[in-house]
Symmetry: C2
């Protein structure tokens, strides 16, 4: 499977790229400017010492967001909320109909001059639902990664601990994204329910920023208790 990371030049997307390539995946970094995408890919290859460490790692390339989205089986979209709608409009015709799209946006109030421990409420309910409203009907959309900070994700010399809460209507799409989560050591995934649960999962980013700020730490994450004993997600009864 080919993975695109739209907005992969940003902190979260770049860190995710590093983790996935290190896990053996082939990643295409997308950027608004093709050249910046290529630069980021070169930087990732250098950091991972691709080519000099044998065949255990994947590959990384860089291009425009549109081209990255067009070629990928799985598209991670890791962009700030202020630019999210515009980015989705720019890739909506490029995303393949069978692709899985994973939105990682949190509607932080920084988009409107507020603070990173505050959120705004998107008109659609959540940033993920805003993405859904822009993408073609039927797109296999998943929301996740809101509780995994760019900082611990990018600190490659340490494992990144935590649970990725995945929200979406399509259980198989959540499984696909979850399978990539599981390739990152110590990171697990949880099926948190339908896409609208992103209204609750997205603001966790801001809560974790508040905790980081209060304890003067970085990289607080979330795990759910008892996870080891749960088994696999089931189809819930009708709500």
């Amino acid at each position: 499977m080919t993975i695109a990371v739209v907005g992969g030049t940003g902190d979260e997307g770049f860190a995710l790229t590093l983790r996935l390539v290190r896990a053996g995946e082939d990643v295409i970094i997308g950027s608004r400017a093709e050249e910046r995408g290529r630069e980021a890919a070169g930087k990732a290859a250098d950091l991972l010492e691709l080519g000099s460490r044998g065949g255990t790692q994947g590959s990384v390339e860089g291009t425009s967001n549109e081209q990255a989205a067009a070629t990928a089986d799985v598209v991670f979209v890791t962009v700030p909320y202020a630019g999210q709608a515009e980015i989705y409009r720019s890739i909506r015709d490029a995303v393949r109909p069978d692709a899985v799209v994973c939105d990682t946006t949190t509607p932080l109030a920084t988009a409107v001059g507020g603070r990173a421990w505050q959120v705004v409420r998107p008109w659609a309910g959540s940033a993920a639902e805003q993405a859904k409203a822009i993408l073609p009907p039927g797109t296999r959309l998943v929301a996740g990664f809101h509780s995994v900070g760019a900082e611990p994700l990018g600190r490659l010399e340490q494992t990144v601990e935590g649970d990725v809460l995945l929200c979406g209507q399509d259980p198989e799409a959540k499984q696909v994204v979850g399978s990539f989560v599981e390739k990152i050591p110590n990171l697990r995934w949880v099926d948190a329910g339908p896409l609208a649960m992103a209204r609750i999962a997205e603001p966790l980013t801001a809560l974790l920023v508040s905790v980081n700020r209060t304890y003067r730490i970085t990289g607080a994450g979330v795990t759910l208790t008892g996870h080891d004993r749960w088994g696999v997600p089931q189809a819930p009864d009708r709500g």
Copy 2:
């Protein structure tokens, strides 16, 4: 310190009462009807075998919400969102000016015929901020316990694992509530920031209900990663 549990006849309040009394605390259960408060206290005393297990446990009494609130140093309010405003109006003149009040309400959509994995948005921003708007100015209000289910809390033969996220303007009030959290084995507390962070912490109840439903489990909770290494909360810089 005397503890009141307003709404202590409900599942969450009753479970919290059991845990606190077992930890050696003196708890007064409050109910709308004084008699129901007394009945719940009798039931708690029976369950804990108070009197027959030596002096390691605390005590439990029952009365009306108003009387419970009037005598307590710390008042936990554990009521459904549909009745929350009315309960606060009924106790607002009774709560002592120096008391710490801990609101545990989540604005679940069940209050308006919706589902327990959905929330409504209170006018004040959160249920805790609604409580603040009703209580006298200066009341030392803390919000917490949203991610600790009544079911695991009440299962006394097992420890209840998780982090209680405490939100509030008064760091010392959070310490007071946190000190009671720490009396419950395996439960820890986190200073999650100002009271408005309850807008994010409260809906976690609904997210955990969604996870419970998806995995057909009960009692999923939340812990934050790295907590052991954090030290004590600091006064944050101005927002």
